[in-house]
């Protein structure tokens, strides 16, 4: 198992090694030590490898991920797993702002809390937060599932297009055009699927409430014609 110490070599060197791995690589499990809050660790991976990081990471860790599994034992700075296409990013601690932003696919699991703008402009990613999420989360969300076992901050789902927002605790306030919805069998199945992927199958789906788009903001309404 390759072992990389970021106290001895720069992030750029690590990322270059990870990017150079061939599709049939045997080096499928990497261990990273002393991340020290450095930025852009394990960004842009495109191989089905597992990268374990012991400690706190800085901005954009696991960004643009495709296929890889990135496991972080610590906290993360801004933009954890942003713009993911597939694969998994899991962190034991808290994530700062804009975790999972613009993600098109894959799974992001946050063991602690996520701060503001979690899942902003999400486009198909599944995000599971075991703690609570900060204000303005899922702003302009387009697709995917955001599952929160704790509480949600102010203006949840502001200007949301689509995407399902499942919250178990309280919601401080809903943003423009975001409403509570009745959970259909399809919604519940989707929630159960995401929980299972996150190893949380024991958490009852009935304990969540579903929030989503009222679809008034992005459909033209003829009564507003005079405004143009």
């Amino acid at each position: 198992m390759p072992d990389f110490d970021l106290a001895d070599a720069p992030v750029r060197e690590l990322n270059a090694m990870l990017h150079a791995l061939p599709p049939d690589t045997n080096e499928t499990r990497w261990s990273i030590r002393n991340p020290g809050g450095k930025h852009a660790i394990a960004c842009g991976l495109d191989r089905a490898i597992t990268v374990e990081i012991a400690g706190h990471v800085g901005y954009y860790c696991g960004g643009m991920n495709k296929h890889a599994t990135i496991l972080i034992d610590g906290n993360a700075g801004v933009g954890l797993g942003e713009n993911m296409m597939s694969g998994e990013v899991r962190i034991t601690g808290d994530a700062s702002q804009a975790a999972g932003a613009t993600g098109c696919g894959g799974l992001l699991v946050i063991g602690g809390n996520a701060s503001a703008r979690c899942g902003i402009s999400m486009k198909g990613i599944d995000i599971v937060v075991m703690g609570s999420i900060g204000p303005m989360s899922a702003f302009m969300a387009q697709a995917g599932n955001l599952v929160v076992l704790g509480d949600a901050g102010e203006a949840l789902g502001d200007s949301i297009y689509e995407a399902r927002l499942f919250v178990r605790g309280s919601v401080a306030s809903l943003g423009a055009d975001c409403i509570e919805k009745t959970m259909s069998a399809e919604d519940e199945a989707a929630l159960a699927g995401v929980l299972a992927k996150a190893d949380l199958a024991h958490v009852p789906t009935k304990s969540f409430k579903l929030y989503g788009s009222a679809r008034k903001l992005y459909h033209f309404h003829v009564d507003n014609a005079d405004a143009y």
């Binding site: 809050g37 700075g77 503001a116």
Partner: protein, 299 residues
Amino acid sequence: MCGIAGLFLKNSALEPNLGALVSQMIGVLSDRGPDSAGFAIYGDRRDGLVKVTLRFAETSAAKTLLAELEGEVGPLDCIFRDSHCVVSLPFGEIDGLKAALGKLPGGVEIVSIGDRMEIYKEVGLPKQVTARFKLDGMSGTHAIGHTRMATESAVTTRGAHPFSTGADQCLVHNGSLSNHNAVRRELIREGMEFATENDSEVAAGYLTWRMRGGDSLKDALAQSLRDLDGFYTFVVGTRSGFAVLRDPIACKPAVMAETDDYVAFGSEYRALAALPGIGSARVFEPEPAVVYAWERGDA
């Protein structure tokens, strides 16, 4: 973009290392603000004396200007550190010093006044700025540093943080205020004076004005949520206090760590990564629009 580093010690055994710890933190944040740097450090106080930190525009002219100043007010007790000089004098002699400074042709100004606080700031790469002032060797109870990437005004030492608008009070700011001109006008009517057109100095002045009216540091910051508009992460120091406030949408980054020995603030975790005991510290992100304040009992 700017960088902020702050360290407030709870364990006095760390006091001799304060300068070295904060200097390392500021160095890491050079990436966030390579234009200029500054720091406020709260060190020993001497009974009956106040510290006035002076900054000379030209280090080479400092001795000559100081001689002229001593010609006006008599011999001064001073310690030089590069372009700055800390003058210790009885409180009652400050007005005389200010008047004498006014008679000089320029090239020297007061950066800070306080029982315990000294402020140093210069243009240049933060690592070089802290080295010039030998921050590594300084001791104290708390310190706040700033690295600046100028976006709207010129790269000058006067635009460098921290700003001080009251004795032993300092503020550093990452962000920009949108209503600073209106607030400055109101504060000038209330008798406050400002040395620059800088928005951050207005925030410092606002807090000084509130505390002069009897507010605690915590209360003053809580009021600023109502009266100051814009993007900000503030870190504020007083003789015995240390506080943090972020704007209601948390526009600018902030991360904190607390142990039994200290409270530390960094714009990024990288700045905290080398602190002693960080592995077992409580690391958290301050919530938007929540005032975080710590106070020492012994100052």
